[in-house]
């Protein structure tokens, strides 16, 4: 007996074009069955309590704190956003200290979420967090906040992530998100650290890069004098280094997070390799006074929104309707625009608003005041003619309308020529056309009265 082995080439992974966040799909589905998924729409900040369920020490003197909401809801956010957390640094009775931390976990695993805190020398809060936050502790928080995040939809999905030190946190969320989603993407992360062994998440990053062909990670040490073995790159960020790891940086969206100084030089080098400033998204936490003030404003505004929504929900005893919540997010997007032009937001709000029915808003007159003619069990209101026409189910609409003196142009009377096409604002018809109307037009509310019968009361634009 012989044993033979055949080496089979592993075929390439086939994926759909681009990347799309799962909540996008929710926009298109009906409210009822997708009700549960609604909770995942990350469009406005909330105030909530969360309980620590796990702490994970990370390389580089960082600590990951895994949390879950006390109310059992998932946390809806966009990867790259942050939370504002009240830490009872001076004891339970004293005024807590608020700090913002990027979420490091992916919104595609929303039942728990994580922040990753670097222990800063002399940092009162970070020290306290490292020493005191333990499973079981409940913290008061507000979020998600921030315009530094992946777009909801990106059919190109080519990214360059520039991380320095603790700046890796929001980018980690982005990489985890992309890894967890289908779709073609091309992610290169260039991660700068001070010394070997200081790269948080490096084992996971290595793993992700090894199993996901979309992800590449490069490490570089800022300091050239390295002792011991080090296999990554050496040296501070330069234009040449960017060009080496991503010769196509020019066509990518760049997300960069790190200390101010690092981001300043990054901006400079990125423009040298031809990256347009509208393609650069930056976040700095360790930052200058100006940045901190910006965050403070953002958080304060998010707080107002959270309050308004909470109030609206109390009143109505039912979930906030889509549009109201959206308007609020739009306001937020407007103020966030300073940070990155708010381009990502323009999309999704545009899409959703377009999906809102607008036709009924322009009702010119009240059909109940119209004169009614004809006989039949159903009523057709012709808004422009200002007439109600009775009709029986099974009776053809065009004929009944003409009978009542309504002017609708018509030729073939067989649903072929399309000349009788009118707009239906409400109600259902049964139409048997023969190519005189396109599916797109039907979706837009048009129909051919010559080959349609009424199934319910109708409101018609004619």
């Amino acid at each position: 007996m012989t044993v033979s082995t055949t080496l089979t080439a592993i075929p390439d992974v086939q994926r759909i074009r681009g990347l799309e966040m799962p909540w996008n799909r929710v926009f298109q589905s009906t409210p009822e069955p997708a009700g549960a998924a609604r909770a995942l729409w990350p469009w406005y900040p909330q105030e909530f309590l969360a309980e620590c369920v796990e702490t994970v020490p990370e390389a580089g003197d960082m600590l990951t704190i895994v949390l879950r909401r006390i109310d059992g809801a998932p946390l809806a956010f966009r990867s790259g956003q942050y939370l504002n957390i009240a830490f009872p640094v001076d004891g339970p009775d004293a005024e807590p200290v608020n700090r913002s931390y990027s979420i490091s976990s992916a919104p595609t695993q929303p039942w728990t979420f994580a922040i990753t805190v670097k222990r800063e020398e002399g940092g009162r809060v970070s020290q306290w967090v490292h020493e005191n936050v333990r499973p079981g502790m409940v913290l008061d928080m507000l979020g998600p906040v921030g315009a530094f995040h992946l777009p909801d939809m990106d059919r190109r999905a080519r990214y360059l992530f520039l991380a320095a030190g603790a700046g890796v946190t929001p980018l980690m969320s982005m990489i985890r998100t992309i890894h967890s989603l289908p779709g073609r993407a091309d992610v290169v992360m260039l991660y700068h650290g001070a010394e070997p062994g200081a790269f948080a998440f490096s084992r996971e990053l290595e793993h992700l890069a090894s199993v996901d062909s979309r992800i590449k990670v490069y490490y570089s040490l800022g300091d050239r004098s390295v002792t011991g073995t080090w296999q990554g790159m050496v040296g501070r960020l330069t234009a040449q280094m960017i060009d080496e790891v991503v010769p196509d940086a020019n066509g990518r969206q760049v997300y960069a997070c790190g200390p101010e100084g690092y981001l300043d030089v990054a901006t400079d080098f990125l423009s040298k390799v031809g990256v347009d400033d509208t393609s650069i998204h930056m976040e700095s936490f360790s930052g200058s006074r100006a940045t901190r003030l910006e965050y403070r404003d953002e958080v304060a505004f998010a707080g107002e929104i959270a309050e308004e929504i909470a109030a609206a929900q109390d009143e109505a005893h039912e979930p906030e309707p889509v549009t109201a919540a959206l308007d609020l997010y739009q306001i937020a997007a407007g103020t966030e625009a300073k940070a990155d032009d708010g381009t990502a937001e323009h999309y999704e709000t545009g899409d959703v608003l377009a999906a809102e029915p607008t036709a009924s808003a322009e009702t010119p007159a009240e059909p109940s005041s119209f004169e009614t003619v004809g006989q039949g069990s159903l009523n057709m209101s012709f808004l422009r003619s200002g007439l109600n026409v009775r009709i029986d189910p099974g009776e053809e609409i065009l004929a009944a309308a003409k009978q009542a003196g309504i002017r609708i142009g018509a030729n073939c009377q067989e649903g072929m020529c399309g000349s009788c096409k009118i707009v239906k604002l409400s109600g259902d018809v049964d139409m048997h056309h023969q190519g005189g109307i396109r599916a797109r037009e039907i979706e837009a509310g048009k129909f051919l009265p010559c080959c349609s019968t009424a199934q319910t009361d109708l409101v018609l634009d004619a």
Binding site: R17, R155, R156, D248, G251, C417, R438
Partner: protein, 433 residues
């Protein structure tokens, strides 16, 4: 993604000779007397007889550019276009694209009168004869009519095919076969820009008071490019020169061009994009020139700085610095394909002294006006350039109409004009027999 050639479902009627044998012979003599290397004699630009011959010999015989899929993005979308006396409906169907003669089979009315729109079936506005998307007559309300066979009155069809999102039509009964080869040449250059996933940002129509050949001639040289200050920001001032010809004051620009070209070719190799010049302007029936060349400045687009004009890359392109891929096809079109937008140009002859030039700017269909691109900036360079070109063409038309006009020599840098005229003359001589 070339689609199969659509065959006609009905035979086209014989074109009866519109002019006498004498006039026919006169036109033939004009071609025989054409002096190579010189511009054409005046009648080529001014004589209705020559125009009528052009419509049959060139526009009635060859593959012509009609529109791009971006102009008819969904089934039911159509555009109507005219080539001289011909009028066509270019209709997007569920399966592909149909080209139908826009001439009602009842009493000949234009079936569709709008330049563009969306329709289910096609209804003639006169007596409502109704045709389906394939052109079959499906309804003719005719009370009392018997023995009327609808099947005999389908709309006439022209050949059409889509290559890399560009729609071409051919009015001949038997289209020239070498378009197959030519589409294989240009498809790899054009396809990565994914015109089928682009949208029309703007369309400009200019009626130029000039013969269609003057429009094409003007397009085929850059001898006059000093007259295009806006475009000059994007084209290297050494465009069309060879190393030996570079004057001292342009040496810097020459170096800049060489460097940009090397970088562009490296990029193209990395991304698998072809860039070599293919030039067969008069050596085949479907004459073509195509290449990808760097642009000056940042090298991304037709802006004063060379920076991108739309923030969304077309298709799956990876880099904004792809210069311009330029394509010339005989007889009626030219194209510039950039990483962020595509511009298509088509010449539609109206009569011997007027030509409609339609310019269409395409951007990625997910690009949002005002967010990803500013319409004014996007269209600025070519709007200016087109108006300047219109002016040049009209200057020549006026000249050709003067008794003092006589053909002048094409210069070395105008070899593509000569190639166009040579192509035209050959095709017409074949046609006139």
């Amino acid at each position: 993604m070339a689609q199969a050639v659509k065959t006609k479902t009905s035979s086209r009627g014989k074109v009866s000779p519109a002019r006498s044998e004498d006039q026919f012979a006169a036109v033939r003599t004009l071609f025989e007397n054409r002096r190579a290397g010189y511009s054409l004699d005046a009648p080529f630009y001014t004589d209705p007889e020559v125009f009528a011959a052009d419509m049959k010999g060139i526009f009635g015989q060859h593959w012509l550019f009609a529109a791009s899929l971006a102009e008819i993005p969904e089934p039911g979308d159509y555009v109507t276009i005219d080539y001289g006396p011909y009028s066509l409906i270019i209709l997007r169907t569920d399966e592909g694209v149909n080209a139908l003669h826009n001439v009602c089979r009842h009493r000949g009315a234009r079936v569709l009168t709008e330049p563009a729109g969306t329709t289910g079936n096609l209804v003639c506005g006169y007596h409502s004869w109704t045709y389906d998307a394939e052109g079959s007559l499906i309804h003719a309300s005719s009370p009392g009519e018997i023995n009327f066979d609808k099947a005999c009155f389908s709309l006439k069809r022209a050949h059409s095919r889509v290559v890399a999102g560009l729609v071409f039509v051919c009015l001949a009964a038997e289209p020239p076969a070498d378009f197959d080869e030519v589409s294989k040449i240009f498809e790899p250059y054009v396809a990565p820009h994914e015109i089928a996933n682009a949208k029309v940002a703007f369309q400009q129509e200019l009626i130029e008071e000039g013969n269609w050949k003057l429009v094409m001639e003007n397009n085929r040289e850059c001898y006059h490019c000093d007259g295009h200050p806006e475009l000059a920001c994007s084209l290297f001032p050494t465009w069309g020169l060879t190393e030996e010809l570079v004057p001292p004051h342009l040496e810097d620009a020459w170096q800049r061009n060489v460097t940009a070209e090397t970088a562009l070719q490296e990029r193209c190799n990395r991304y698998g994009l072809p860039y070599e010049v293919v030039e067969e302007l008069d050596t085949r029936i479907a004459g073509i020139r195509i290449s990808r060349e760097p642009l000056d400045g940042a090298g991304e687009s037709f802006s004063a700085t060379g920076r991108r004009l739309s923030k969304k890359l077309l298709g799956d392109l990876r880099d904004f610095r792809l210069g311009r891929c330029s394509m010339h096809l005989q007889p009626n079109c030219w194209f510039h394909l950039l990483s962020d937008h595509v511009i298509t140009f088509a010449a539609f002859p109206i009569n011997e002294h007027q030509t409609l030039v339609r310019t269409t700017w395409l951007v990625a269909d997910d690009a949002v006006e005002g967010v990803d691109y500013d319409l004014e900036s996007l269209t600025y360079t070519w709007k200016q350039t087109n108006v300047q070109d219109k002016n040049f063409v009209e200057m020549c038309q006026q000249g050709a109409a003067s008794p003092a006009y006589e053909p002048g020599p094409y210069m070395k840098s105008e070899y593509q004009v000569e190639a166009f005229i040579n192509w035209y003359t050959q095709r017409m001589q074949e046609h006139l027999g």
